[in-house]
């Protein structure tokens, strides 16, 4: 599905480059469930953002579904991730002014999907996640676990091939965290490729494959 070749990322601090990621080579196939682990500052989130095309690498090649992402323009790249990638955040990042229903619907709006079609898709996912009763509530009226559930529903609404999750259970208690991880496992079974960043060994255990990062490098 995607392949990183010699990916590096650095910032210039006081004239000297400080490396966040150094020479990352990575290949992830369709249907994998990968966990990226490592201590704080090891570059996990940056790696996830580069994979999600929210950030550029300073160097290296990135191929996503047979497209050379590093050669694409901003617009084409946006088009690509809009269609194929869903994001789940530690802090949920739901839009407070929108209801549950509207939050889930938003990605479809940005893909110019027709209103009637949107309705069917949102209704479907609300049903699937068993949050139909919550659809008219605003995010602040929900518990953390419920918010993350909405966040995942929103990430999945456009039927992405790849789900990126940045510490999805970081703000949740352990019971809620388990539910979310079970959901991920189920999703993966249904064919969604998942890459998650996590601190927790237990959560990493849900995945099929673990990448350990230390000081910007993949530990073999």
């Amino acid at each position: 599905m995607l392949e990183l070749k010699h990916i590096s990322k650095w910032y210039n601090v006081g004239g000297k480059p400080t490396f966040i990621l150094k020479d990352i080579n990575l290949k992830i196939n369709d249907g994998e469930f990968v966990s990226i682990m490592g201590p704080s500052g090891s570059g996990k989130s940056t790696l996830l953002h580069i994979i999600g095309m929210l950030d550029d690498a300073s160097e290296g090649e990135y191929n996503f579904m047979d497209q050379a992402v590093h050669t694409l323009r901003e617009k084409q790249r946006s088009q690509l991730y809009k269609q194929h990638i869903g994001f789940v955040f530690q802090a949920y990042h739901l839009i407070d002014e929108l209801t549950v229903y509207e939050n889930i619907e938003t990605p479809l709006i940005y893909q110019n999907i027709k209103s009637s079609e949107r309705k069917a898709m949102v209704a479907d996912i609300l049903d699937r996640f068993q949050i139909v009763g919550k659809k008219d509530l605003f995010p602040t009226q929900l518990s953390g676990g419920q918010q993350q559930l909405v966040g995942i529903a929103r990430a999945l609404i456009a039927k992405p091939r790849l789900l990126l999750a940045d510490e999805p259970t970081g703000n949740l208690n352990s019971r809620q965290g388990e539910e979310i991880m079970d959901l991920f496992k189920q999703l993966n079974k249904d064919g969604v490729t998942i890459i998650q960043v996590t601190h927790s060994e237990k959560n990493a255990g849900y995945g099929s494959h673990i990448i350990n990062l230390l000081d910007g490098r993949v530990e073999q």
């Binding site: 989130s45 953002h49 999600g52 929210l54 950030d55 617009k75 946006s78 991730y81 809009k82 994001f87 955040f89 990042h93 739901l94 839009i95 407070d96 002014e97 929108l98 509207e102 619907e105 938003t106 990605p107 709006i109 940005y110 893909q111 110019n112 929103r154 456009a158």
Partner: protein, 813 residues
Amino acid sequence: MFKNYWKTAFRNIIKRKGYSLLNIAGLTIGMTCCLLIFHYVAYEKSYDRFNKQAGNIVRLRLDTYQNGVLAWKSATIYPAIGPALKKDYPEVQNFCRLMDAEGLFINEATNAKFNETKGYFADQSSIGILGIELLEGTAGEALTGPNKIVISETLAKKFFGSGKAVGKRVSGNAVSRLVSYEVTGVMKDYPVNSHLDIRYLLSYPTLGSILRLGGDSSNATETSFGWYDFYTYLQLRPGTDPDQFEKKLPDFCNRYINNNQWNKTNNRKAALHIIPLTDIHLHSNYNQEAEVNGNGQAVGFLFLVAIFIIGIAWINYINLSTARSVERAREVGVRKVLGAARSSLVYQFLAESFLLNLFSFLLSLLLFYLLLPSFDHFVGKDATGIGLTSRYWQLFMAVFIGGTLLSGIYPAFVLSGFQPIKVLKGIFKNSSGGLVLRKGLIVVQFMTSVVLIAGTIIVYQQVTFMRQQQLGFNIDQTLIVEGAGSIPDSLYNPAAEPFKTELLRQSNIKSVTASSSIMGDEILWTNSFKRIGPDNPSAITLYILGVDYDFISAYGLHLLAGRSFSKDYGTDARSVLLNEEAVRQLGFGSTSQAIGGKVKRNRDTLTVCGVVANYHHQGLQKAIEPMLILLTNEQRTYYSVKVSTDRLPATIAHISSTWNKYFPAHPISYSFLDEKFDQQYKADELFGKVFSIFAFLAILIASFGLLGLSAYNVLQRTKEIGVRKVLGANSQQILLLLSKDFLKLILVALLLAIPVCWYIMYHWLQDFAFRIHIAWWVFAIAGCLALLIALATIVLQSMRAVLENPVRSLRTE
């Protein structure tokens, strides 16, 4: 997609209540001001536009040069000019002349009397040119031939009740004669928004026939190139360029006027100019205007003020929304991750600003219609029915849409520009570029406010100065009674003296004097005089005031040299008084040298018997003109009656009954001189009032913005304040910390405002012959006021943060 924009926009407005309220309040006030001012400007600019041919109609005016110096600018010209222009220039399709006719009318059938001053002797062509609509009578011949009158609908009702008016007869006074007129037409009441107030028109040939009856065979009403009492309008052929036509007028003047022997010997030149009909109300301010015209400069000022006030409100929107961008940054980041293109975010924020503006607009529309009647009352215009003309609606909509876009687009671009990765990582900060812009805009807001405040103070100072200045004559307790104009001289004089004597018998009446003009009125009686001397000086125009023996002493005019008029001197009919200005302009060396000096008009030689100190015959806007005071015992334009304050109603009743006894044909009409004189300052006073209101509103809106910004500033620095307090900072130190940055900006605004305001007000003051100097402390006061308001706003917002227990703000972290 659009529905989604509106929904989020609406929810955002609701969610940030305080902030939206500040914006909406500011915008609503700004838009209401703008609508009211536009309404006023629209009304002022609507003058004479009801005339369908207005585009082709111009009025002529006359500049008279004396020894190469412009001596006289009048709205009226010579009666022979119109016909000559029509004869010589094919571009002149037609012309019409109007001459002031004021008088009393008597319904011949019932003998009911009506004093009607607003009317003119007018050519037949004036019906077409001035857009007069006849309800009765034949438009094509209503004013042809002598002794015809066309009256307004209202006048017809007044004169004749509800019946048909055409064919009935009224007699009226004209040039001291009673003339019988046949009513040949009833016109629709002439619109209020015209520079002319026409209640009736007398046929032009009437004037000539009266003069002939008086023994004047010169046919002056058709041939005179010296009698400048005639408003003359030209109807230019469609397609004529008025500027091109005006260029031909000097040549015309040379041929008809300047080559005249009298003008040559006296080194006089006439220059004719044209002014488009629709420009007269706002841009014509010459001698002998038909009505007091508007002030184009003031209207222009107000228009700018409107734009500034609404601009200040939009600046608030820009400042508040960019300052609070941090709050929106996360949303922007998330939306981008969810696939939003920048353009769709720009639309979203624009929708928000549009919604806010639209809401304010609807509110201001409501306010506008609610306030309109009181506003019109306040500015003394009856323009409510006119509302806003479609042209000004269009202009307002253009301003509205332009302002909404401009104020919306900058925040929209700032907000939509956030990089999601930075926002989501939480390493987001306000850009310093936006900060500079915000500071600049605050400076602009407060600069405008300070300019308006200082301007208001200066206008008030000038009006107060004019009111408090010594006028040079005694204005107190003077009752002005309008003379009985229509009575022929032979009947008048026998009544005048006994009238005076009988009044003076009353102990509460101190003096009674008659004169041709009264203080506060423009002197229309002028003549050319030259000093008789070996150096053969050229003639100058003197303003003539005809008075009786008691005028000088009754008004306490200060005699500098010589003597006043006195019955002890038999020759006083040939003696005159001059004012200092006339002494100077005529070229007498000094006031004492003028005594016994001779001045000449035509073949008439007069001796100067005294010199009076300059006094302000008109308000202090006007310079002191050279005056010649003439003893004319038959004067009866005005009686000035000095009364004592006690038992005033009884005194007035006595004057009325005495009047009715001697002048039974005329209803008495009186006023108080101080009130009448004060009328001259009403327009400037109103200007000051209107300005002060808008200045207040401007600073109010600007402080709304400051309120929002400082509230946000406090919010952002809550933690810092907490830490500082824990470290031992006291309340004053915290307040200083929070207000320092804003106060610096306001000081900058103040410094910039001084030269701008000085420049504008210096030019405004040039309209006044007597004016104040702009004092430095005006700016100090305006600055302090702005500073105080700003400080109060900031302190109000900061107090809560200052007083709060730091433990609470720190615990939330």
